[in-house]
Symmetry: C2
Subunit: 324 residues, 2 copies
């Protein structure tokens, strides 16, 4: 028997991921409308944008304006990404940003250096400062990312033991800081994971941090995204980060082609869950409509599958199953 | 512990699937070159084209010429599809077509009627005639397709028991005809399968036809293709039909959009196998090159993932894993 969870939660990253990777700055009205449409699907966490340097990511320069523009839906947390304290202050200053305080750990030294000009160890130690910053601002730590947990285009193999050590570090640090162990967000940032590796990693995380909720951040770079997500579901993982229409990908992750797939596609994953009988609280048809709207905005065929083929309910309604 | 097979075989359908669905007729030189490139990858079965009515599928009108044009690689079987006896006679008349004699069973009555203007039961009974035709021509039956085995866009749900009945029919028919039970080719023609449904179906097939080799024909219509293929691998299935670059899809299967994904992508599946440590005999890098050539021919972004991101070996060679 499988260990599927009964309910599965998706945190939507498409609005940030999708428009951050593109060179164009898309009209704020369209991005606000996409977020509003996503708000109506049953998603409870939507990442609106990022508070990062407009020098490096000009597409995100108007994130604060976007937070002004969206129509809030009760029960939906509108979140953002930031990478330094300046960004965090901007998030605090913007309108009703849901602060999900997160720590960032790197399983790959090369990736840490590339993104931050600092070693993985330095980045690890800096997270202590973040705990203080968030504590002073009155925010509990919600999650701890472990990035490039399955391998790294810049470094090559990442031994699982290194990742386990990071899990242990997070547990020990939480004890010392007298905070609950945050969600462990295991990120396959560059698409190296396999279903077997996912299962082993989830089980190791459970053993090392039994009190932590596990979240998977999965990329579909090499086509294994949904298979990896399914493997995590089989191990009872009930929290995923994903992107509507498969929007996005990390522009700094060193892929050969910008056409490389990014985050696993939300509606394809939701379709899988529903077909397996797992609750998501999400209206798949509305989510497909939002994905198609994202495609309209971007003007090209996006990566999602079920957005192009449609779900199965319309066929089931006409079912004549007993005719054979 | 998993039941992965040690070796996995892929039968390539891209050259037929890919150019059959497109409205354009692509130059025969380019199609021949794609097949020649595929011949160099380690694939042992390549479906070159189909012998079908040029009235309905004009893109396949020159299949016999294509068989003349390709450069044969020793050890590679060049196959074709036909749907009636006229097509079979054309295949026999063409140059060195590898005849893999197959029977076609329909799990969906609506789909049988749509494709053949005959019921699933009529189609089932007609397969007896095919056994005679092939016997008279000196060919053993290689495989028996069960189409729309997981559901049908035209009919809705397909009860698994109907599919099991077809398996039993094939076993009984083989006994009566005094032939070995052919490969059971379980086809998710319209992308209804889930990993759980695949596992249950494979196990049912094994129980009903223990002597038959099982082959899966998987479509990625709703994004679950690789997850479903992985589920079959976990149950020990060692034979798959797939398409390089994810070429194709069934033009008659009633999807809303021609952009809907077709066959599961060969190189993504091969990548999965290699990452799991399973042998395929296929050179992934060469296969990726062939996929990119297919993209050149068609002039648009194709569905495959690993063809755009590349495999992992180039990163592993530079591995500095112990630096963390």
């Amino acid at each position: 028997m499988s260990g599927y969870p009964k309910k599965v939660e998706f945190r939507e990253e498409g609005p940030r991921e999708g428009f951050q990777i593109e060179k164009t700055v898309y009209p704020i009205e369209q991005r606000a409308e996409l977020i509003d449409r996503l708000s109506e699907t049953g998603l409870r966490h939507i990442q609106v944008g990022s508070f990062v340097s407009p020098k490096y990511v000009p597409q995100m320069a108007d994130t604060a304006l976007l937070f002004d523009r969206i129509n809030r839906k009760e029960g939906v947390n509108y979140t953002a990404l930031w990478l330094n304290e300046k960004g965090f202050r901007q998030a605090l200053a913007a309108r009703d940003v849901h602060i999900d305080a997160r720590l960032f750990f790197y399983a790959s030294d090369a990736f840490a250096r590339h993104n931050n000009n600092a070693s993985a160890e330095e980045m690890r130690d800096r997270q202590r400062d973040w705990i203080s910053v968030y504590r002073d601002a009155g925010h509990a730590i919600e999650g701890a990312y472990v990035m490039a947990a399955f391998g790294c285009n810049m470094q090559g193999e990442v031994p699982p033991e290194h990742v386990h050590d990071l899990f242990r570090h997070i547990v020990a640090m939480s004890e010392e800081e007298e905070i609950p162990v945050p969600n462990l967000i295991i990120a396959d940032t560059m698409g190296w994971a396999t279903p077997e590796a996912v299962k082993r990693m989830v089980n190791a995380a459970r053993e090392i941090a039994p009190s932590a909720r596990i979240c998977m951040h999965i990329h579909d770079t090499r086509g294994l995204g949904i298979a990896n997500l399914h493997a995590a579901l089989e191990e009872g993982v009930d929290l995923f980060e994903s992107s509507v229409a498969g929007l996005g990908g990390c522009p700094f992750a060193g892929h050969g082609s910008t056409r490389a797939a990014g985050n696993v596609c939300t509606e394809d994953a939701v379709f899988l869950c529903h077909e397996l009988g797992l609750e998501t609280g999400i209206d798949l048809e509305k989510l497909i409509e939002a994905a198609r709207f994202a495609e309209e905005i971007l003007g090209g065929t996006l990566m999602g599958r079920v957005m192009h083929s449609g779900g199965l309910n319309r066929f089931r309604e006409n079912s004549t199953g007993d005719r054979r």
